[in-house]
Point group: C2
Chain length 250, copies 2
């Protein structure tokens, strides 16, 4: 048995998220598992670096599986791409040690959230960015980003339905970049709670619009209460950019 | 009766081109006419600056129609956007003289053809650019662009099935721009023959790949024979950027 690690990109627009569901709803995981099975004739179960919700995209999702197939590790990418739909693509495949785990061995994950503020061409970005009208105070938003950085209790930044035990996470980077009509937030952390990036983004937009104070962020860290924060930003602006394993998967 | 001119953008991915068809196939024109009818209760027939094929996009298509409706000219955009699907959008609406014609009064039209040469993220561009692998000699392609400029007989650059009388067109600008993994051609002319931009682009790619000589372009101008040129580049890279009317529609 060989353990294969793959880096995957996908357009999440037409999927019910990454994770396979009990019903027959199309998911990224189901497409990948079906694709691998069509190549080898064997059922397979994938492990991923993390789930993404319906409409959320990935440029660097990481998955692993074990297979007795004789396909050389680096050829899995091309083989699987030949049977995958056009909105899912394997960027790279290689062999990893059998004890490698794409979630537990991750040092950090990187998400980007994309906002489009222009008028022209917004129909082309309707599935790939959050369209935003109105003035934003970017320096206030940047100040809020620097408050997000560091080790905090992110309980308030978590949608209910999560079953985690600890809400402590360390954000290594949270930055906002403006490029013409695009605005994007990059966030890297040792882990993310459910909807954490989208709640941070929703709160930054509230701060930028003057509907929320920077102090509310600190308040949310202290109290853990979701009500202090902005709404959950829509899924289509969110991209899982990549996962860092240090030297673990080299 | 008021004559209204609108600037429209659309994502052509899911349409059988701009022009309404006898069958019920979805087209941009049909969506716009249905939308206007749903606002006013009256049937309407649009005139456009030009047709675009299935899969071709627009950032600046121009259409006109006359209506007895009391909607103020500049409010048509918002009114129609409220009933249009998400992949068609009116950017601007205004009143024009009753004898204004979006095709006959055009001084020039501007098309852009987009090529993506990167590996990462290509799934997001599969409907919005031509994905190209392999080395391209950009300076040769740029030399070919400058040959395209000027007044020529473009008969060879025209797909069959066209019923035009003259194949003479003047290309005011044909330029190639490289921006990271993107490559795009801008072309402005006083008129375009059927598939002319896509045949020019297909020929430029052949020249850049070393499969066609620059001299073949001049040969094609002289002989009018399609065989001298490259294949018709795929539709999804093509955008109708805008139409210039000089002061005619101000």
């Amino acid at each position: 048995m060989t353990k294969i690690k793959m880096i995957i990109e996908y357009d999440g627009s037409h999927y019910h998220g990454y994770q396979k569901q009990a019903n027959a709803a199309p998911t990224i995981q189901a497409e990948l598992e079906d694709g691998i099975q069509s190549l080898t004739g064997l059922k397979v179960k994938l492990t991923s670096a993390g789930r993404t919700d319906a409409g959320v995209h990935a440029l660097g999702q990481v998955i692993t599986f074990t297979s007795p197939a004789s396909i050389p590790p680096d050829r899995w990418a091309a083989a699987l791409n030949s049977v995958l739909p056009g909105d899912i693509r394997v960027l790279e495949s290689k062999q990893v040690p059998v004890d490698f785990h794409p979630r537990f061995d991750a040092i950090s994950k990187h998400y980007r959230y994309l906002i489009y503020r222009g008028q022209r061409g917004r129909i082309f970005l309707r599935r790939y960015a959050c369209i935003h009208d109105g003035v934003l105070d970017l320096s206030l938003m940047q100040e809020a980003c620097s408050l997000i950085q560091g080790q905090h209790n992110f309980k308030a930044f978590c949608s209910s339905g999560s079953s985690v035990k600890s809400f402590e996470r360390t954000v290594y980077r949270c930055s906002l970049t403006e490029k013409k009509d695009l605005l994007y937030m990059d966030i890297e952390a040792n882990g993310f709670l459910y909807n954490m990036v989208r709640i941070i983004m929703g709160s930054l937009l509230e701060i930028g619009s003057g509907r929320m104070d920077i102090g509310d962020i600190e308040q949310a860290f202290t109290t853990g209460i979701r009500d202090h924060l902005g709404p959950t930003a829509p899924p289509q602006g969110l991209y899982l950019m990549g996962v860092d394993y240090g030297s673990r998967s080299d």
